[in-house]
């Protein structure tokens, strides 16, 4: 209030004007001040990295040689990327991961959510039980699954053998099964999240719709297909896009359990960035692959924003 005291020395008619003016000035100043930390954060977390990674993606630069060894090479990294068999395999694996994990995870979660939402007691228990794998560290959980998947003496293969399978997969060490093994863990870990999102969607459907349908004599299955599913449209879109983007960012389980192998059969795009950037220190090439990831994710995100905007007034 120091300011007001100073101002009172001025002429009364000027006072009102000046106070108003300086108040809005002050508010703007405070506004920017409150926003400042976040803006600084955005500057070094997004603006600088995205610009800088574009620049180094046009250069050849191995960190081991120091900054002086940086060499401008034009589009060479991008050319190399499109001929890189490992990048191709990584993209293929990302797509395989998406096609297998997204529909499975959504379908299982939808069934569970509908049952938990309307058909059982102990609702709160079920929400917690199915959610526990999601909040557990995926690394700790990955270690558990690596034991379960043990090729010769792990419980999964022992069980399969006991019910008559003679040739059991080597799971994480099997070129044909390593990615599937990772997908099984991922779906198991994310189901709780999907269930919670679906339950939130289900609780937004007005009860009157079901009551009206009951009066008309609709069966549970009819209600599901004619009320529940259409009303869950926006939830489905949201979940699908979230999982789709998530499946292009998958990394932790693969780095921890298979190291992209065996024989690159479980490599994915983020793992390629990691391999090139932080194992071989090819900063230029790793940045080019980063841009590929950025463009894929950005395009999906932008399309999804458009779809979700339209979906609001359906």
């Amino acid at each position: 209030m120091k300011e007001n005291i100073e101002l009172t020395t001025e002429k009364p008619e000027l006072l009102i004007k000046k106070t108003k003016w300086s108040n809005s000035r002050k508010e703007a100043l405070v506004g920017w001040l409150f926003l400042l930390p976040e803006l600084v954060g955005m500057l070094y977390l997004y603006v600088f990295p995205i610009v800088f990674s574009l620049i180094i993606s046009f250069s050849e630069w191995n960190l081991v040689g120091g900054f002086s060894t940086i060499k401008f090479v034009g589009l060479e990294n991008f050319q190399k990327m499109f001929q890189d068999e490992k990048v191709f395999m990584a993209l293929k694996n990302n797509l395989f991961f998406t096609f297998l994990s997204v529909p499975t995870g959504m379908a299982l979660a939808l069934i569970l959510a509908v049952i938990i939402h309307t058909k059982v007691y102990l609702k709160e228990y079920f929400k917690v039980a199915f959610f526990i794998p999601y909040i557990s560290s995926i690394i700790a959980v990955g270690a558990v699954w690596s034991a379960l998947y043990h090729p010769s003496s792990g419980p999964i293969n022992m069980f399969l053998k006991s019910i008559g399978f003679e040739k059991t997969p080597l799971w994480l060490a099997d070129p044909n099964y390593s990615l599937i093994a990772i997908i099984i863990i991922s779906v198991w870990a994310i189901i709780g999240y999907n269930v919670i999102i679906y339950i939130a969607g289900l609780s937004n459907i007005p009860d009157e719709l079901y009551e009206a349908a009951s009066i008309d004599g609709a069966s549970s299955i009819q209600k599901f297909f004619n009320i529940t599913l259409p009303m869950l449209g926006p939830t489905n879109v949201f979940l699908f896009i979230t999982l789709l983007i998530g499946s292009f960012k998958v990394f932790d389980l693969i780095a921890f359990l298979t190291d992209g192998g065996p024989n690159n059969t479980s490599t994915v795009i983020v793992f390629r960035i990691y391999e090139e950037g932080f194992r071989h220190f090819n900063m230029g090439y790793a940045s080019a692959i980063s841009w590929l990831l950025f463009i894929v994710v950005a395009v999906i995100t932008l399309i999804s924003w458009k779809i979700q905007k339209n979906k609001v007034h359906y």
């Binding site: 703007a28 977390l45 059982v120 557990s136 700790a140 959980v141 558990v144 690596s146 022992m158």
Partner: protein, 278 residues
């Protein structure tokens, strides 16, 4: 009569779903049981769900009193998660306050700018952020890791949504009483935002505790490792000793499960707000 019939159906469904949920959680039961066993009993088939002989103390010692003890990883995880959670909550709520309760030119532009950064996946910026930390001399330090994890557009967005609902009348009244902006933020707006602060705080804490990728890239010194990287060491050192590895997993998971069970309402609400993980 009808009411009663529906109840029986519901009881049966509940029992079936209980069985499903137990089956679903079998990997975690297996982990717990293995952590209590001698190594020779871990891979016995059919599975001994209740161990016939216990080796829990030796397994516990092997994990918690190892060359680099688990307690150090725990301490590191706790330190990192607490600092990053507090910082994220503070900076997100400050930004949200400016974006909702203060009028100034360029405000909406800034909000749009923040939202537009959401299309950038953090994995795409790993290389330049790694180089930045190297140049700042913060590579392989907790400070560097914290620097990378103390802002979140997503949480700013959630806090903004909540603050839009905080009534302006209280703020106007406080202004008339001569309160400054900082007092209004600290004494009026923040207390009203307790529910969203709790939600955002818990989720950020869980994500940081479970983060593997950032520490993997920004840390190299084993003494600075959080639990997730500590797990990696155990997996490499005890590749054939699953009892000890499962004790390590159990130790990593337990605190979060307890926090989650106590604060489940906040966690579930936060997730339902429509979250994008990571």
């Amino acid at each position: 009569m009808i009411q009663r019939k529906i109840d029986i159906q519901k009881v049966i469904t509940t029992i079936i779903l209980l069985a499903v949920s137990i089956f679903f959680l079998l990997p975690l039961f297996w982990m717990t049981s293995a952590a209590f066993k001698f190594e020779k009993d871990v891979m016995v088939f059919p599975i001994e769900w209740i161990p016939s002989s216990l080796n829990v103390i030796e397994n516990f010692k092997a994990v918690w009193m190892a060359k680099i003890p688990f307690s150090l990883f725990y301490f590191n995880s706790l330190k990192l998660s607490i600092i990053m959670t507090l910082a994220t909550v503070l900076f997100s709520s400050m930004a949200a306050f400016a974006l909702t309760k203060l009028q100034f030119k360029g405000r909406n532009l800034m909000f749009g700018l923040l939202l537009s950064f959401m299309i950038i996946p953090e994995q795409a910026t790993l290389v330049p952020r790694f180089l930045l930390l190297k140049w700042l001399g913060l590579y392989n330090t907790h400070e560097g890791l914290i620097l990378m994890g103390m802002f979140s557009i997503y949480f700013t967005f959630l806090m903004r949504q909540f603050m839009l609902g905080v009534s302006n009348e209280l703020i106007e009244a406080a202004k008339l009483d001569g309160a400054g902006y900082f007092t209004i933020f600290w004494k009026i707006v923040l207390p009203l935002c307790k529910p969203i602060i709790a939600t955002v705080g818990i989720i950020k804490f869980i994500w940081t505790w479970n983060d593997y990728q950032n520490p993997l890239i920004f840390l190299i010194d084993k003494n600075l490792y959080p639990i997730t990287l500590g797990m990696q060491l155990f997996k490499d050192d005890y590749a054939d000793n699953y009892a000890i590895l499962m004790m390590a997993s159990l130790s990593a998971i337990i605190p979060l499960v307890i926090i989650f069970i106590i604060l489940q309402k906040h966690v579930i609400k936060g997730i339902s707000l429509g979250g994008v993980k990571g």
